[in-house]
Symmetry: none
DNA sequence: GTGGTCTAGACCACC
DNA sequence: GTGGTCTAGACCACG
């Protein structure tokens, strides 16, 4: 399982971790009952402070996406997949809406935005395939 | 001149104000030599603390986009339009790249992302026309 | 406004702070729109780390009891009083139920428990009056 | 012998086990010289990790309530009953005092607290009879 | 001044 | 080993 955190893109790290977990569940990489990587392990892997990871997991817990097991770790709650798929769509839609609103305000022509979209899409594809 | 600030989209307000000014210049709404609205006026209009607006203007000044006129206010610097058009493209491209990277990581299918793009685009068009 | 935190009674400090705020709202000491003491101020007053207070306030925020105002502080949300009165009853009921369940299991006679109850009640009254 | 553990009421599980043993001795269900259930058996019955049970028994041993019999298990020490009866009263009194202090702080009226007490008491009676 | 985020490191309860 | 809580102290955005 690979999470990727972008150092400073304006989105808090703990929030990015939450999203990455949700995405992993939505994609089926993590299924209900699966164990999440431990707080300490993930913090080592991502070079992030354990407290920050713990905060992410607690947020996920409050959303009912994961459940803590005493002395064991966190596991994916039942029914999490459906919720995560829903949220995934919501998240991406909101983000797209945000940036496109900005693009529209900027006065760039539709054609130009379309071109930038294609460009950005293919480059992000290349990046995620590597 | 109408700026629109998105309450809490992760981008600092002073930064959003900077962008909106640059966009206005890029679109030709503000031309070289034009006066910017006063800090006080803009803060009223956008319901933002005057300090935040002032900070935005200082940032723009440091970039050479606007120039302070003693006792009068700020006006658009000569040659600002070209610079703003360049930055506009850069800003939108970066933002698109960021969100599409996230979309690719999320595992959403290209088709679905395309659909969300169309949806978000038309809704943001509607919003900016109103 | 006076909050009282008991060093180690098994209930986490951040949870005690949440309860005290809810109780204050339930009692009408804090009304909708009132400002909460600032994180730093309260942390000084209670000799508790600011992060711990912040955690409490964020939890209250998620429950919709308080709302953060940028650069200003937290204020009591509208409709918080009703919710807090409800929760207050719930909290005390649960706590009583917990201890009485334990008392019942202990095999103490009802008479004796009643006696201990009276005793504890009057002493806690004395304490809270002082 | 039936112990009941409350999942997460803030009291550590090992502590709850200690109390339940003490209560059983106080009530005479376990008399001096009686064998305690084995760690393994009790852990199965209560669905608790054996280590946690073992820790409880060690604590009881240190208090002189039980004594280890090599190759056999633990048995109730002589004179344990008196000590347990004393502690039982102390424990319940402290717990009542704690919750009533909180109740007093909450601003609930005496009448209401009395009502909640009756309610909680009868429900806990019902539970322990079943 | 305010809250928001993050790091570092500690101790506890539990498996 | 696991998560849960807490402290200490830092920097940022905002008013």
């Amino acid at each position: 399982m690979f999470f990727e955190i972008q150092a400073d893109n304006g989105i808090p790290i703990y929030d990015q971790v939450c999203r990455q977990v949700k995405f992993a569940i939505a994609r089926g990489v993590l299924a209900s009952g699966d164990r999440l990587p431990s707080v300490r392990e993930l913090s080592k892997q991502l070079l992030i402070n354990p407290n920050t990871i713990a905060r992410s997991f607690q947020a996920l817990q409050q959303e009912g996406i994961v459940e803590p097991i005493r002395g064991v770790g966190f596991e994916v709650a039942t029914g999490a997949k459906q919720e995560c798929r829903r949220q995934r769509k919501e998240i991406i839609k909101d983000r797209l809406s945000q940036v496109l609103t900005e693009a529209a305000q900027s006065g760039l022509e539709e054609q130009e935005i379309e071109r930038l979209f294609r460009q950005a899409w293919s480059s992000s594809q290349r990046r995620s395939e590597s």
